[in-house]
């Protein structure tokens, strides 16, 4: 149980800077998800917290203490890796107890802790098996067990679910979240999957090109994205983005006009989530359908907005049998419009 503070963390590899100053304070027992596309520096950030990469500038504090110079072991953290990183020649029991054995704990204590963790993770039937005899999900549980037995201050997860199939991923997502809740251990979780980020995080850090674009709760990021990147990265299918003009409090968008509650004037970039489109024959906007994707609970319609050439997607509840070329009129509630500066991509309220 601990707080983690990142104070203007920067990372340089030779001449290239990959992390441009990330700051945040993580509270005791909080579950933080770092999310971003590949190469955005999220794993590097986590590895700096773990002590596997040196920090070029800034400070990492665990429980208020600077840990920049400490070895990973001395930071009292436990990390779970994408490839599980289990020792193939050891049984599940040995794998889980290995860290404790190194730390020099008595055998009886190690056995007790391993049994406790195994019960927690439902690994009891597999304790004497080798990792290769286990499925991916079980291996990942062993890796987590190895982390749990050490009772660390902070859990670090580096894309732990990306090697699992979709169904197992959903199940493991819940298990990890449930486990972290019960143990109350501060956790940092790296993923490129925005669904994982939305469902698991207390707060998320949306990263892009070595910068934290937005730090906030999943709903905050979804409802009030601070940058165009955060707006498009979070949410599935991703937000539609269109160029538009604001004139005298009226938005000119896709050949239509509508009142809009914003301080923006002139050229703006407007973001519109597909699920916020409401089918309405009287609606000011229209979509020329090119393709429909019925998902059962809702239907995604891809096409062009109005007479324009800009690609647009809307998501309507239920099943819609739209044919290519059909025009569907829809409207959007003014509060569901997001405005961004076309130059900087920053949110305009």
């Amino acid at each position: 149980m601990a707080t983690v503070e990142l104070d203007n963390i920067k990372k340089r590899f030779g001449g290239t800077q990959v992390i441009h100053g990330v700051s945040t304070a993580i509270e005791d027992g909080e579950f933080i998800v770092i999310v971003g596309p590949s190469g955005c520096g999220k794993s590097t950030l986590l590895r700096m917290v773990a002590g596997l990469e040196s920090v070029s500038e800034g400070e990492v504090r665990i429980d208020g203490e600077r840990v920049n110079e400490r070895e990973p072991m001395a930071r009292d953290i436990a990390m779970v890796f994408q490839n599980y990183a289990l020792y193939p020649h050891m049984s599940v029991r040995q794998n889980m107890g290995y860290g404790l054995k190194i730390a020099g704990l008595p055998k009886s204590e190690i056995a007790a802790k391993v049994d406790e963790a195994a019960a927690l993770l439902q690994l009891e039937p597999y304790l004497d098996r080798r990792p290769r005899e286990l499925s991916g999900g079980q291996r990942q549980r062993v890796a987590m067990g190895r982390a749990i037995v050490r009772e660390p201050k902070v859990f670090l997860f580096d894309e732990p679910l990306s090697n699992l199939d979709a169904k197992l991923r959903v199940q493991m997502r819940l298990e990890i979240r449930d486990l972290q809740n019960r143990l109350g251990i501060t956790a940092l979780y790296v993923t490129h999957d925005q669904v994982e980020a939305m469902t698991m995080a207390d707060r998320m850090i949306v990263m892009n090109a070595g910068r934290a674009e937005q730090i906030g709760t999943p709903l905050e990021v979804y409802e009030r994205p601070q940058t165009l990147f955060a707006a498009q990265f979070i949410g599935s299918p991703s937000m539609n983005v269109l160029d538009a003009t604001m004139q005298d409090g009226v938005l000119h968008l896709g050949g239509a006009t509508m009142p809009a509650p914003t301080t923006a004037t002139g050229k703006v970039t407007v973001g519109l989530r597909p699920e916020h489109a409401i089918a309405d024959p009287e609606g000011p906007l229209s979509l020329t359908v090119q393709m429909g994707e019925p998902l059962g609970a809702n239907t995604l319609l891809h096409g062009r907005i109005g007479d324009g050439s800009e690609a647009f997607t809307i998501s309507l509840p239920g099943v819609h049998h739209a044919t290519a070329g059909e025009r569907i009129a829809f409207r959007v509630l003014p509060e569901n419009l997001h405005f961004f500066d076309p130059e900087t991509g920053a949110r305009i309220d």
Binding site: R47, A50, G51, L52, E71, P72, M73, I77, A78, M79, F81, Q82, N83, A85, Y87, Y98, G99, I102, A103, R146, D158
Partner: protein, 380 residues
């Protein structure tokens, strides 16, 4: 009908020879209907001297014809001949420009720069890379020695099981191949030596030839080369795949020092076993040489041994074996260092493995040359 089409398709063009070259005066509509014929007609023109294309009397011009004209110009200009369009109307001009812009620019292969400065820069890069590698290796040597010293102070941290395992794998496992190789080298040396020495009636010196070359140089050098091929690659592959699967990161997370756990037992195993392998190679080399000398020259084993003991200084054996631990250190360090350079993909694992072998063999031979100079200087 066909005649009519041909008629319509025929390009309307007058030829005129001017002072500096050729002037082609195009007339009427130039469109897709006669573009092919226009291209053919243009191709027929002698490709010498400047060409002037006069479009004053051209009515309609479309992109097909414009394409023909522009590509004709480009082709001629590439051959170093000037082509000018004259009498263009604004519309035609802009059409020609647009077509010219949309044509894909010819992809010319970038010339491989090889000026003197480039060559110099490349030499500099190679040298700087080499120096960097040597410094990194030196750092690795320091790390190994520091961890070794630490395990002397804290013997409980020492991985004895691991040491025995690796000693078995790199030492015992290599005995058959090393023994066979040394035996055959002894045979070859005896055979070649006897053929040459017989010309001078100095057959008996074949014993000295075999003894000195095997004990002093070949026994240990060839053993090291074989071990470099076998062991440096296996060290790189093993450590590299651990690095790839984040096992080394996990180790550090558990509080295990990769240098103590992975490098010290591996390098130490080599340092211990390579001199033994060298000794095996020496014995087998002499055996092979002695056998061949007996068969080919009739030098009896007793005579071979007498000659060997009397004629060969013990220094040769010492010089040979002194080199072994140094070669072992070089091979082990290069193997482990390359393993740690592996990045997250299988391709880099393969590249580092082969580069470890090449570097280890090269470094062993360089070290052997340095030893030769050293021993020559101190008069041994």
């Amino acid at each position: 009908m066909v005649a009519a089409m041909n008629d319509r398709a025929a390009p309307l063009m007058d030829l005129e020879t001017t002072g500096s070259g050729l002037c082609l005066r195009l007339r009427g509509p130039q469109t897709v209907a006669n573009a092919r014929a226009l291209a053919a007609k243009l191709d027929q023109q002698p490709d010498s001297g400047a060409v002037e294309l006069d479009l004053t009397e051209v009515g309609r011009l479309d992109t097909a014809a414009a394409f023909v004209l522009v590509s004709f110009r480009d082709r001629r200009e590439q051959a170093g001949q000037e082509v000018t369009f004259t009498g263009l109307r604004a519309g035609h001009q802009s059409l020609l420009d647009t077509v010219a812009r949309s044509l894909p620019s010819p992809t010319t292969e970038p010339k491989t720069p090889f000026t003197f400065t480039d060559a110099l820069a490349r030499v500099g890069e190679v040298i700087a890379g080499g120096v960097k590698f040597i410094l990194a290796l030196l750092g690795f040597l320091g790390l190994f020695l520091a961890r070794l010293a630490r395990t002397l102070r804290h013997p409980s941290e020492f991985r004895f099981t691991s040491l025995v395992h690796h000693a078995g794998a790199v030492g015992l496992g290599a005995v058959p191949i090393v023994a066979l190789m040394a035996f055959l080298i002894g045979v070859v040396l005896a055979f070649q030596g006897s053929t040459q020495l017989r010309q001078f009636g100095a057959e008996v010196f074949v014993v000295d030839l075999i003894a000195i070359s095997i004990l002093r140089e070949l026994g240990i050098l060839l053993t090291s080369i074989i071990v470099a091929g076998r062991t440096a690659s296996s060290y790189t592959a093993a450590i590299g795949s651990m690095k790839m699967h984040e096992e080394i990161d996990a180790m550090r997370g558990l509080g295990l020092d990769p240098a103590t756990v992975l490098f010290v037992p591996r390098i130490l195993a080599l340092v211990i076993t390579l001199p033994i392998l060298g000794l095996v190679a020496n014995v087998m080399g002499l055996l092979g040489g002695g056998l061949m000398a007996w068969i080919d020259l009739g030098i009896s084993p007793a005579m071979f041994i007498t000659r060997l003991v009397n004629g060969t200084d013990i220094n040769h054996v010492i010089i040979g074996l002194v080199k072994a631990p140094v070669f072992a250190l070089i091979i082990g360090l290069i193997g482990c260092h390359a393993g740690m350079q592996v990045r997250g993909n299988a391709e880099s694992l393969g590249r580092m493995t082969s580069s470890a072998v090449v570097r280890a063999i090269f470094a062993v031979i360089v070290a052997d040359a340095a030893f030769s100079i050293f021993f020559a200087q101190i008069g041994m």
